[in-house]
């Protein structure tokens, strides 16, 4: 009996062990979900919170964006990915049955426009929603996705901005003067730079691959930035140097389609263009650095309009202490190009006149800057900036036009947090330029400025910004002149999602050396100097409203008025037929600007509409100011779903009422009176190969898809239809 019982007991024991082992194997079989979380440019995102919905399972991504959720039993799951600054993403119905799986995710940057931070408006970090003036931001992804190799191209899609060839006009501030005397100040990381001779903004020099964002301040900013900022400021902010090695390679290849009219087809071929950028960023101890090199080549759809450009960029940052650093920036530019100034006639719209053919021009530009930042105490931040900008060009005209200019700038700025709600920004600035030129002679200029601006926050909640700047400028032998530029701005948050803003101020701009001293003749156009030229000034006023409806709608509208006194414009002296710059205009520019962003499906489908109405008049003659369109309209549709992106942009500007009619009347530019409204449509597709474990983005762009022929500048057909294939690879 005992034996029987013993056998039964042993049998139960083995059965129990057998069942236990089998059951354990059956129910303890688990799997894992692994993957990588990156942004739209394939940059890994650390610290992403990853949870499996309705469970306690979860993980967070490491510094390389990798994550793993282990020990997951068989099942069907939904995973949520969230991180500060990014739109939430959910992967639904993930089936985990017989093996571990990998899910790579791309998170889209969350852009709540009013909460973005800008540094340009007040020379320190401020929320965009707290500014008294209108501002815009171009994000880095737009350069990649839309394949903009030049900042100038991106500016064409900014509300209220109009480009005439390479000359910017913010809310109608400028016409066209072949680069001489820009009314918008261009800066890189807060370092203003313009050519010492003509005061020209050189967009093509900016290394767009290294830009984090571009901030645009509309309206006179002379109370902080002095001369040249009479119409606004454009500040390109470069990427922060990375803590770990980061290498990126991006390139594109494209070609222009055949012209719509066969008689314009001067080459008989589809003209190619291409570009390549290499960039590396790293940190060694307390020293961080970024090196970038770009080569661009364009055979152009126009004869003698070809170019090769080389852009170098170095940024180093040394941290003396966590509160003190020195940043060095070097930006170099070399360009060898043809010199297309205007067409032969409307039957030969893509070739220059015979007498002008075969001309070449070489340009070399160098910008070096130092930025020292230190927190003196809890309340004082000291910022010292110096920069040197050298510009040289030489053409093959007879006689040769050659110019070398040197611009030196220095600025000391102190930000003081007087109390919790009061920030005081003070500074002094000095500049000097020297020129050796066959066009402008050998003049030089000096200038200095001093400013104080206070931003006061009340609890209502109201923010008052008040400031004043004094500038003195002396151009060579001309009498020096000074100007005081005060400004007052208000920002009132009526509700959390409804903000009112208003500002009034004055601006001024001293003539550039080119406007005062140019004496040259090129392509049938002769320019003479005007030693009696004076500074121009303006009084600017703006009122605006910003409204946000949940995450669905953002609406902004602004009305503005600019009164210009002694406005400097190029004209032709009827007594001798020569071009010269003069204080010829008392002008008024009024307008309304409205922009709307619909997030139809947040994080997936958005639609943007921008409209600007401009009324720009010479008050003495009653005629429209030159090269200012009355209507400017942009719209953009963007669809993003997982790894795929589609976008379409449409741009319209009405036909400009006034151009350089004299160049037509004098027979210099044949058929130059031809101009039309601008209708340009661009399409783009993008795909991110992160799902194949490749940190690679591919873009396909078709620009001016309807092959619409238009001019911005007299006798200059803008880009005809072109196709671009671009790739962007990130190695970390």
């Amino acid at each position: 009996m005992k034996i029987v019982l013993k056998n039964i007991f042993q049998g139960f024991f083995f059965l129990f062990v057998f069942i236990f082992v089998i059951e354990d194997n059956l129910f303890a079989q688990t799997f894992s979900i692994t993957g990588k979380v990156v942004d739209q440019n394939s940059n890994p995102i650390p610290g992403v919170n990853i949870i499996i919905i309705n469970t306690n399972y979860g993980a967070s991504s490491d510094e390389n964006g990798n994550y793993e959720i282990a020990n997951l039993p068989v099942g069907i799951y939904s995973i949520e990915y969230s991180a500060v600054g990014f739109e939430k993403a959910v992967s639904s119905n993930i089936s985990l049955s017989d093996k571990s799986i990998t899910i790579d995710v791309i998170l889209t940057e969350q852009i709540i426009e009013s909460d973005e931070v800008v540094v340009t408006a007040g020379k320190y970090e401020q929320k965009k929603s707290e500014l008294p003036v209108s501002s815009e931001i171009i994000h880095s992804k737009e350069f990649t996705e839309k394949n903009f190799s030049n900042l100038e191209e991106a500016l064409r899609y900014v509300p209220g901005v109009n480009m005439t060839d390479d000359q910017i006009s913010i809310r109608g501030s400028s016409g066209y003067s072949r680069g001489a005397g820009s009314r918008a100040l261009l800066a890189i990381d807060g370092l203003p730079f313009y050519t010492g001779d003509s005061g020209e903004s050189v967009w093509e020099m900016i290394p767009v691959s290294e830009l984090e964002r571009v901030e645009i301040i509309k309206g006179a900013a002379s109370s902080l930035y002095g001369t040249s900022a009479i119409g606004g400021v454009i500040n390109g902010l470069t990427r922060e140097i990375t803590e770990k090695p980061r290498t990126s390679v991006s390139g594109y290849f494209g070609f222009y389609d055949k012209p719509y009219y066969s008689e314009w087809d001067w080459s008989g071929e589809r003209r190619p263009f291409n570009g390549l950028t290499l960039s590396h960023s790293n940190n060694v101890g307390d020293l961080g650095f970024t090196l970038a090199f770009t080569r661009l080549e364009d055979q152009s759809y126009r004869k003698d309009d070809h170019f090769k450009k080389y852009i170098g960029f170095i940024k180093t940052k040394y941290d003396f202490t966590p509160l003190s650093s020195l940043t060095f920036i070097a930006n170099t530019f070399n360009k060898r190009s043809g010199n297309f100034l205007y067409w032969k006639d409307s039957h030969n719209a893509l070739i220059p006149p015979e007498a002008e053919q075969g001309q070449r021009i070489e340009t070399n530009r160098y910008l070096f800057g130092l930025i020292y930042k230190t927190v003196l105490t809890e309340k004082f931040l000291l910022n010292i900036k110096t920069n040197y900008y050298r510009n040289h060009f030489k053409d093959t005209e007879t006689p040769v036009n050659e110019s070398t200019s040197n611009l030196y700038r220095g600025e000391v700025q102190l930000n003081t947090d007087i109390t919790e709600g009061i920030v005081l920004t003070t500074g002094i600035e000095g500049m000097g330029s020297t020129v050796i030129s066959t066009l402008f002679g050998n003049p030089n200029s000096i200038g200095f400025g001093s400013y104080v601006v206070s931003d006061i926050k009340f609890n209502f909640p109201l923010i008052i910004s008040a400031g004043v700047r004094y500038d003195y400028t002396k151009l060579d032998s001309l009498d020096g002149s000074g100007a005081v530029s005060p400004k007052l701005g208000l920002n009132y948050k009526l509700y959390e999602n409804l903000i009112l803003r208003s500002s009034i101020g004055t601006g001024f701009r001293a003539p550039t050396l080119a406007e005062a001293f140019t004496s040259t003749s090129a392509s049938g156009i002769t320019v003479k100097p005007n030693p009696n030229i004076k500074s121009e000034s303006n009084l600017t006023f703006e009122i605006g409203v910003n409204y946000i409806l949940f995450n669905f709608l953002t609406f902004d509208v602004a009305a503005f008025q600019n009164e210009y006194y002694e406005m400097i414009e190029p004209g032709i002296d009827p007594l001798d037929g020569l071009v010269y710059f003069d204080n010829i205009i008392r002008a008024r520019i009024q307008g309304v600007e409205a922009s709307t962003l619909f997030n139809f499906i947040p994080n997936e489908l958005s639609f943007r509409l921008n409209y600007t109405y401009l009324w720009a008049r010479d008050l003495e003659t009653g005629t429209a100011l030159r090269y200012r369109p009355r209507h400017i309209f942009y719209s953009g549709l963007e669809f993003t779903k997982w790894n795929f992106m589609f976008g379409a942009d449409f741009r319209f500007t009405s036909e400009v009422e006034e151009i350089d009619e004299e160049l037509v009347d004098l027979g210099i530019i044949k058929d130059g009176e031809l101009r039309v409204p601008v209708y340009v449509t661009d399409l783009r597709l993008g795909y991110n190969l992160i799902s194949l474990n490749l940190p690679l983005n591919i873009y396909l762009n078709v620009k001016n898809i309807f092959n619409y022929n238009y001019v911005e500048l007299i006798g200059n057909i803008r880009h005809i239809r072109n196709y671009i294939l671009g790739v962007s690879l990130l190695i970390q």
Binding site: D345, F552, D576, F607, F650, D665, K670, F706, Y708, N709
Partner: protein, 180 residues
């Protein structure tokens, strides 16, 4: 409420896109100007009599749109045609606006009425548009009326001939205002 708004915009969106596409796809903007089969213009003969002054450096036929009633009317915007240079010492010179050295605007002589046609001479080395640098050697008179400068009328697509001018150095015509 929000859904209604979203649906409303969704319904409008394709219509807007379709409308814009239609507008921009059918128009190709700037196009070559049509070629005029018979360009308007004029021609004639200049006859010189008397001795050419040694000081003359340039001689051209000039056409002004409006009458030269004051010195300020002699300006670049009123000037509509400058012929090729007439060689020094020439006695008879055949000219045509088709051989022009300078026609403003479209590059072709435009139809219209022109108030003052003359042979103008200059005594300074470089081409100048300053009135005081010029001297009028002969004026076009219409229909034999020598009491006032004759007008030149050029209809559309018409080429006018026999716009003849006599330059008599011994009997120069009245000078327009602004001269020396």
């Amino acid at each position: 409420m929000l859904r209604t708004v979203i649906r409303k915009y969704f319904n409008l969106l394709p219509a807007i896109i379709f409308l814009i596409t239609c507008i921009v796809a059918c128009d190709h903007g700037i196009e070559p100007k049509p070629i005029v089969s018979e360009p308007p213009g004029f021609s004639g003969t200049i006859t010189f009599s008397g001795e050419w002054p040694d000081s003359i450096t340039r001689t051209h036929i000039v056409v002004f749109k409006d009458p030269l009633l004051s010195a300020s009317d002699f300006n670049i915007f009123n000037l509509r045609f400058v012929s090729s240079e007439i060689p020094f010492g020439t006695q008879t010179y055949e000219y045509s606006s088709r051989d022009s050295s300078f026609v403003p605007g479209t590059g072709m002589f435009e139809p219209g009425t022109y108030a003052y046609i003359a042979v103008a001479q200059q005594a300074v080395k470089n081409l100048s548009l300053v009135r005081s640098d010029w001297f009028v050697a002969g004026v076009y008179y219409a229909g034999g009326d020598t009491t006032q400068p004759g007008s030149l009328v050029i209809p559309d697509s018409t080429f006018i001939t026999n716009i003849n001018i006599i330059c008599d150095y011994n009997n120069p015509p009245p000078q327009p205002p602004g001269g020396n």
